[in-house]
């Protein structure tokens, strides 16, 4: 009761702290939620053997006619390097950025596709080269690998899809052995299901392809701008990268090899904007907590100095030091609690708006409770020093005037 009465005398100060706490909580929970989402994106596994994979992009100078033969020669050379587990030529790879996408449906000439998928064009060696885990069925056999030039659009008779895509297409039945239709009318039988393989995209993009909905087409990809994916034995990545490139240039120096890099480097590059944004959010959250804590310290100190005589009087009338300190903690709890209540509403409202506008995920109740706990705890911590100062005011202050 005492607290309420004294609060009425410093309405504005209490209001300022409440507003600050409310804003802080609203901002904090939304930033932390975004931060959590970015961290999740940055660390989500792609389903390939990331630790032992490197890639390079190859172009031959001029426009050679015998592309397919050259690619096969290159691949054989890569596989002959000691320490190489597998090598494959492909149009795309997880987190690589460049992608082919197409619609896939359950009936021919379906007006709107059931799902969209990113396509990896791969041969019989690709499972070993990518280090994929097969969940059901089989991988492609050498006999079913055709050739696909980069300037033609072809759909195969057999296809391997990820479990995620299988579930999107056949939520209630086993996708293995089913027929799906690519590009409106081309039937393909699902011969295998891969446990997990991320699309070339780093995060959910606006390309209408869900991030794990990938398909594998059994073709030898033929292009003068293609990617080799090479997997090595553990620990031999660096050595193999050097030797393999040297061997490629031995075959012919009339080529341009770009972005020869480990998968770790690919991942680092793919999540540049997420990493940057999460650092910015982290720094702003840190500053926010510091500023709010300082604000609470400042205003409480001000109150303590305003109420010196009153505190002295209470001490003279028998209040213990701990009573005084507890008083300030309770007062703060009341003010900050009001702020937190408002902040929860503000934060949730903001989250709904941001979720619809900026593709932010909705926060869980537990999440916002945790953020509220952080803010309340911080506010209590900030009061410790001013409360101690208040408690140390001697009873004699009551009669000493100012």
């Amino acid at each position: 009761m005492l607290i309420l009465r004294s609060l009425r005398r410093s309405k504005v100060g209490a209001l300022l702290i409440s507003v600050q706490i409310a804003l802080t909580l609203a901002i904090l929970c939304n930033s932390l939620s975004a931060l959590q989402q970015q961290l999740q994106d940055m660390t989500r596994p792609t389903g390939i053997d990331e630790a032992n994979i490197w890639t390079l992009r190859n172009q031959w100078i001029g426009a050679p006619e015998d592309l397919q033969a050259r690619i096969l020669t290159d691949l054989a050379a890569l596989r002959s390097v000691p320490g190489v587990v597998g090598a494959a030529a492909t149009n795309a790879y997880p987190l690589g950025g460049d992608a082919w996408t197409t619609g896939v449906g359950l009936n021919p000439n379906q007006r709107v596709s059931t799902a969209s998928t990113a396509v990896y064009i791969v041969d019989e060696h690709a499972m070993a080269a990518f280090g994929l885990k097969l969940a059901e069925g089989r991988w492609f056999k050498a006999g079913e690998i055709g050739a696909a030039r980069d300037d033609e659009t072809k759909f195969p008779a057999t296809v391997i899809i990820t479990r995620s895509l299988a579930h999107a297409l056949f939520p209630n039945t086993d996708a293995l052995g089913q027929v799906v239709y690519f590009g409106r009318s081309q039937p393909a039988r699902v011969v295998g299901i891969v446990e997990h393989a991320q699309t070339p995209f780093a995060s959910q993009t606006s390309w209408h392809v869900r991030i794990d909905d990938a398909s594998f087409f059994p073709y030898q990809y033929v292009s003068n701008d293609m990617t080799y994916v090479v997997r090595t034995e553990p620990g031999r990545l660096a050595a193999v990268m050097m030797m393999a490139q040297a061997r490629l240039f031995q075959i012919t120096a009339q080529r341009v090899v770009t972005s020869a890099r480990t998968f770790a480097e690919t991942r680092h590059g793919a999540y540049t904007s997420e990493r940057k944004s999460s650092i910015v959010l982290g720094v702003v959250c840190g500053l926010l907590l510091v500023v709010t804590a300082l604000g609470v310290v400042g205003l409480t100190m001000y109150w303590v100095s305003q109420r010196r005589r009153y505190i002295g009087m209470r001490r003279a009338l028998g209040a213990r030091r701990s009573d005084i300190a507890r008083y300030f903690h309770l007062e703060n709890l009341l003010i900050a609690g009001t702020g937190v209540a408002v902040g929860v509403v503000l934060g949730l409202g903001g989250n709904v708006l941001l979720a619809s506008d900026l593709a932010l995920t909705r926060m869980s109740a537990g999440f916002i409770c945790a953020a509220a706990g952080i803010v309340l705890g911080l506010s209590q911590l900030a009061v410790i020093w001013p409360a101690m100062r208040a408690a140390s005011i001697p009873p004699a202050t009551a009669i000493r005037g100012r």
């Binding site: 100060g13 975004a34 980069d150 300037d151 540049t272 500023v291 300082l294 400042g298």
Partner: protein
């Protein structure tokens, strides 16, 4: 006169209350620094390239795939293909409905220098009008001629970066450059140039670096130079280069420069007539649907600013609000600790208005100091963000730069925000009772 007196009083009291002054300045400064760092990025991304022509440069969209290609039947803006097929682009080039026009696509030829290894570049196949339309400045030489466009001449315009890399210490104009194993004659070198966003081709990303080199569209088509960009097909394309050119795949950007903004109606009518004509010849089996956008509308339609940047800007401004609430509390404390002094001034005959002015001068001064600190912190924040960005590209340099406009905005926001925060404390200070304060001491 009065202002000088108030300023003197303000400085004196700010110096006396050094801790509180420092805290207010720090609160305002940190808030301003954080929010302005993010605002600068957003402002750079939402730049207004070719501003004097933004209403006259137009991009056509045409419904080549029909209503079956869309999930809804209404042709919402971005549901029409955002690029053109080769044959439509060529038809528009022949029609010459603008003062200038250009079709174009991204290429990635390899450069083989006289000494050293070949390396890949980014390039653009376009028409000579491109340079005038998008105001690309030349350091040396000039664009190729219309005759070069017609004759598929092997000529090339270089960026200053590529020119300095391949032809250091010499004049590149007139020299030969080996591209994908073929000789091209250098006719011009651009001065540093970067559009933000890169409005003429935003098909992959709106924030891309300007290209390393430019060569005639007809030459690139003739040499079957592979496209480096976004190619979108609704149905499988026929085989080979000819098949690609005749397909309904969209991969070409097209821009027309109109004599004035009003001419867009006539241009739109031409497009509609063209689409109607295509239907009559049996190519389209649906009601003709076309759209025309000027450069400004086109930028607004594309989501140029990534969600992550919008979010961090929003959060940074929320943080500024918290800092300002904080500053209100600090100023309240600062003014009320000086109630006695203000009471004395009132008792000596100063009006409320005069006290208000005095406190307001102090507030503005705090805003200026906070703004100065904020500006410094913005520079530090930008250096930090640039350090997080790999590589040093023209785009990142533009994203994290503090131009005169940004300095003005920072100063204005700092002062206005501080004055807003100081209004209530100042008003309360000016309400001080002259007698009361004298009595208590």
């Amino acid at each position: 006169m009065m202002l000088g007196y108030h300023l003197e009083l303000a400085i004196r009291s700010l110096r006396r209350n050094l801790v509180l002054t420092a805290l207010v300045v720090a609160a305002v400064g940190v808030g301003i620094g954080t929010s302005m760092t993010e605002l600068a990025v957003m402002r750079a991304m939402l730049g207004n390239p070719v501003s004097d022509k933004a209403l006259r440069l137009v991009v056509p969209q045409i419904d080549v795939w029909g209503p079956d290609s869309r999930s809804t039947d209404r042709g919402a803006d971005l549901e029409l293909p955002d690029q053109l097929t080769y044959r439509d682009a060529m038809a528009f080039m022949r029609a010459r409905k603008g003062v200038r026009q250009t079709a174009m696509y991204g290429i990635g030829p390899d450069v083989t220098p006289d000494h050293g290894k070949s390396f890949p570049t980014s390039g653009r196949a376009t028409y000579t009008d491109f340079f005038t339309m998008f105001e690309a400045p030349f350091r040396e030489g000039a664009a190729w001629s219309e005759a070069d466009d017609a004759q598929r001449a092997r000529v090339v315009v270089l960026s200053f970066r590529l020119a300095d890399r391949v032809f250091p210490h010499t004049h590149p104009v007139g020299r030969m450059l080996r591209l994908d194993g073929r000789e091209f004659r250098v006719v011009g070198v651009l001065a540093p140039w970067q559009l933000m966003p890169r409005v003429y081709d935003m098909s992959q990303s709106a924030l891309r670096d300007a290209e390393d080199l430019y060569l005639p569209f007809s030459t690139a088509i003739d040499l079957q130079m592979t496209q480096f960009g976004h190619n979108s097909c609704h149905s499988p394309a026929p085989r080979g280069w000819e098949g690609h050119l005749n397909s309904e795949c969209v991969w070409i950007q097209f821009w027309a420069e109109l004599p004035n903004a009003g001419a867009i109606g006539a241009f739109h009518q031409y497009l509609l007539d063209y689409a109607t004509d295509q239907r009559a010849t049996g190519r389209f089996h649906w009601a003709p649907l076309v759209q025309t956008h000027n450069a400004r509308e086109w930028i607004a339609l594309r989501k140029v600013v990534p969600d992550a940047v919008k979010l961090s800007t929003l959060i940074a401004f929320g943080f500024l609000a918290v800092c300002l609430v904080n500053a209100v509390g600090l100023m309240l404390a600062s003014f009320s600790s000086r109630a006695t002094e203000l009471g004395v001034r009132r008792a000596l005959g100063a009006s409320r208005w005069s006290i208000f002015q005095q406190c307001m001068t102090e507030t503005v001064l705090l805003g200026v100091l906070g703004g100065a600190l904020g500006l410094g912190l913005t520079a530090i924040g930008q250096a930090g963000e640039r350090a997080l960005d790999p590589g040093d590209s023209p785009v990142t340099r533009l994203l994290y730069s503090l131009d005169a406009g940004m300095v003005l905005i920072t100063a204005a926001v700092a002062v206005v925000a501080t004055v807003c925060a100081g209004l209530y404390p100042t008003w309360r200070a000016s309400r001080v009772q002259p007698g009361l304060q004298l009595k208590t001491d």
